[in-house]
């Protein structure tokens, strides 16, 4: 309780009387809904990240192809230059597994 000047007692009583109502509470399923939303947002961010990465990869391939073609390279060489590293990256886990088996 705060220290009150005499004139404040009246307004204090009025406020107490006027605001006398039960305090509201959160819905009982608030936490459940919130955690579901948190999960959805996290999954959304992952999906967004994957989309950005895929877009970046595709754009790089197209730009590299165009630049190499402009330099006079043949389509075969361009395909090997682009697909070779991709094949190596894709094969890496398989090679590692093979090494572990031996």
């Amino acid at each position: 309780m705060t220290e009150m000047e005499p004139y404040e007692a009246g307004i204090d009583r009025l406020l107490r009387r006027s605001m006398d109502a039960p305090a509201p509470t959160l819905s009982s399923d608030f936490e459940e809904r919130l955690m579901r939303k948190v999960g959805q947002e996290s999954a959304g961010l992952d999906r967004y990240g994957r989309m950005v990465l895929t877009g970046y990869g595709l754009a790089s391939i197209v730009v590299s192809g165009v630049v190499m073609r402009a330099q006079g390279l043949g389509w075969g060489t361009i395909a090997v230059t682009i697909l070779g590293p991709l094949a190596l990256v894709a094969a890496a886990p398989w090679v590692r597994r093979l090494g572990q088996m031996q």
Partner: protein, 187 residues
């Protein structure tokens, strides 16, 4: 052993959802109270939305929380700003929010004349309250409606206890003056 907020925050920062859920469990009621105290009685569903938004913001920003302030102070500050922004938007849409003519349901005045008089005085009080600065309104609702003591009011508003006391004192003083000017007695 009960973990401190700092320990839970550290775990949540490394992606532990259980730790985050525990932080929500600990602070949700206070965050909701603060949001309700700013928005008022006619916006209880909006206060719940604000509470949810606050925790989603906290979840997204927890990696950047450096622990320079208490976790609770940080989250209350976010709540205050979020609720004040929402209130400004709501007020822009419907500038005549009515505070549901205050909450006087428990002790109806005897007789129609007294009831009408009390209703008019409550309307005047609601109008006057609406003109007070946000922190004063929030302090009044926390103290008189939501049953917080001065210490809790101070913690939720992020101010020292003496400042919370002076908010309440000043708010009563202004309301008293305004009601008197409108010709209402406070007794």
């Amino acid at each position: 052993m009960v973990e401190t907020d700092s320990q839970l925050v550290a775990r949540a920062q490394s992606g532990d959802q259980q730790a985050f859920a525990e932080l929500v469990r600990r602070h949700k009621a206070q965050v909701f109270r603060l949001a309700v105290s700013i928005l008022g009685r006619e916006f209880i569903p909006e206060a719940e939305d604000v509470t949810q938004e606050v925790f989603l913001k906290v979840h997204n920003a927890i990696a950047s929380f450096r622990g320079e302030a208490e976790f609770s102070s940080w989250i209350y500050r976010i709540t205050f700003n979020q609720a004040v922004n929402l209130k400004a938007r709501v007020r822009f849409r419907s500038p005549h929010a009515d505070e549901t003519v205050l909450y006087d349901t428990a002790t109806p005045e005897p007789g129609p004349d007294r009831r009408a008089e009390a209703a008019q005085r409550n309307q005047a009080l609601a109008d006057c309250m609406g003109t007070l600065p946000e922190v004063y309104q929030s302090a009044l609702r926390l103290y008189y409606w939501l049953g917080c003591d001065v210490g809790e009011v101070a913690e939720l508003l992020g101010v020292p206890e003496n400042t919370a006391k002076s908010y309440l004192h000043r708010a009563r003083q202004i309301l008293h003056g305004m009601l008197k000017q409108k010709g209402y007695s406070c007794d």
